[in-house]
Symmetry: C2
């Protein structure tokens, strides 16, 4: 029953939150590396990773984990990628692949690329996977299953290194795409950053009303509001950094959103039922496409009912 | 094994969409009435209700269903409640209870109350339950389980009739609240109407971009966007009518939302990380409260992962 050979001798996971710990679990389960080195700055998080048995070695020193590693995966809030790059740069072994999982790519490249020594393959990456939970307990081996992982390779990237990293992510369950970093940042601004910002905002608005109490918002949340609270429960440090590091694309998408909302608001004010009906019909088709693309389950109410009432 | 006596001899369900057909199913399952009369204007929907065996009699004539009924439940888009009230008024039997399930209450009262004959108990109601699906196939008997049903009784409402209707909804699984119709409309504007409008809007914005293709939005939607597509797949007629019939409260909440969004946008533009972090931390607590209140399942990602990977 011996599976395929491990792809790497030593993998270093810098950061062991939701993404890092999911990687640790799938690497272990599917034998993708002989040694998993785990580094995180927080003593507490490191102790928890050790308790969970996520790796083979544990350290608060990123450089120690990265030393001799064939693959280094940086899974930290994007605002910290520059510091990590600086720390690990001196010990990176020639031929090593360094990648990241950050939700913004132009900023990560600007922070990390200047530190990367010649002979090291720096390939920026972004697995589009996650939940609203964070920390080493939140990860699971199936997180990347049937999700997309986007690479934004720099000019002159070694095709063999890119293929090796792609094979790693495919073995984690992902589909692979590559694109230009600026395009990535625009795409993510609309499919991920704007939705999170809007969700944070509406939950904030509901929290601040005088006419409707907080307890009413909570009691009656099943009528729509609760859907937004999932994204708005995401990791605050990660999302603060995303906002600060993809500012231009986010502001562009926010301007579009607000323009469209003003137009919708006007249709409500003037009772333009046809315009409302047209928009509400059009958007219904988008969900069907997402379900057909295998990126959403085909179960009403996200499957909540199926979980609450399993006998049906 | 005889259960409790049926609460009513004859129930008339005017409208047999998601809500009406869920009522039909729970009334049948739990023996809440001796006869279920179903009326809907659409021949096609009526034929489907008959195929599904949802009732005991079927008609496209609301008055015929309402004749001799002890309880009439109007489950139509709120813009049609006036027409239905006018149609059924002449045949209503003295002592009958008439209620509705509409998402706006002030407008429904204005449309229906003037038609109600003396001796009939008109008690406006709103079960806060639903999914993004619509039509008679979408209903299920557990829909109202542990959800709130809000009554907005008019001055002088007979307490015995209100209690009888409350008992009916409790037997359907609901918790009961009563409030003033204006307050209901404000509460629903923030917990339900604004979330739907925002969801429709963001899906519309994503649909109209030039820089990001439609197929990219769909492929990468699991990174946040897909959460919004559920609400934005809701019934267009129902939601057009909600927007037209709760205009004042919706415009008030939209103004709040836009004001907060402008402030958040400014924080992004000027790199105010502390402000972003504070908001993003605060909103996280709201979801915890909703889970504690039993209005959301305590499973990451709405349980999608549990459904996709059931072995875990």
């Amino acid at each position: 029953m011996a599976g395929p050979e491990p792809l790497f001798d030593k993998i270093a996971l810098i950061g062991i939150g939701l993404i890092g710990s999911s990687l640790a679990r799938v690497v272990r389960r599917d034998n993708l590396a002989r040694h998993i080195a785990i580094a995180t700055r927080s003593e507490k998080t490191l102790a928890r990773a050790r308790e969970l048995g996520l790796g083979d070695s544990y350290t608060t020193d990123a450089a120690q984990a990265a030393k001799d590693a064939d693959l280094v995966i940086v899974s930290v809030p994007v605002g910290s990628s520059g510091d990590v790059a600086k720390e690990i740069a001196p010990v990176l072994k020639p031929g090593a692949i360094v990648t990241d999982v950050g939700s913004t790519k132009r900023s990560v490249i600007a922070q990390m690329a200047p530190h990367m020594p010649a002979g090291v393959h720096f390939i920026p990456g972004h697995p589009l996977a996650g939940t609203e939970k964070s920390g080493p307990d939140a990860g699971f081996a199936d997180l990347f299953e049937n999700r997309w992982c986007i690479f934004t390779p720099l000019p002159g990237t070694d095709p063999a290194a890119l293929e090796r990293l792609s094979e790693f992510w495919r073995r984690c369950g992902s589909n692979i795409d590559t694109m230009d970093p600026d395009h990535h940042d625009k795409v993510l601004a609309i499919v991920s950053h704007l939705p999170h910002i809007i969700a944070y905002n509406i939950v904030g608005t509901a929290n601040d009303l005088e006419a409707v109490t907080q307890s009413e918002v909570i009691k009656y949340s099943a009528s729509g509001f609760r859907d937004f609270t999932r994204l708005a429960a995401s990791d605050p440090t990660m999302w603060r950094d995303v906002c600060l590091h993809n500012k231009d694309a986010i502001l562009e998408m926010l301007a579009r959103f607000s323009e469209d909302l003003a137009s919708l608001q006007r249709a409500i004010r003037w009772g333009d039922g046809d315009k409302l009906f047209d928009l509400f019909t059009h958007t219904r088709a988008v969900r069907r496409s997402i379900i057909e693309a295998g990126q959403e389950i085909d179960v009403p109410d996200f499957g909540r009912q199926a979980i609450e009432h399993p006998r049906k």
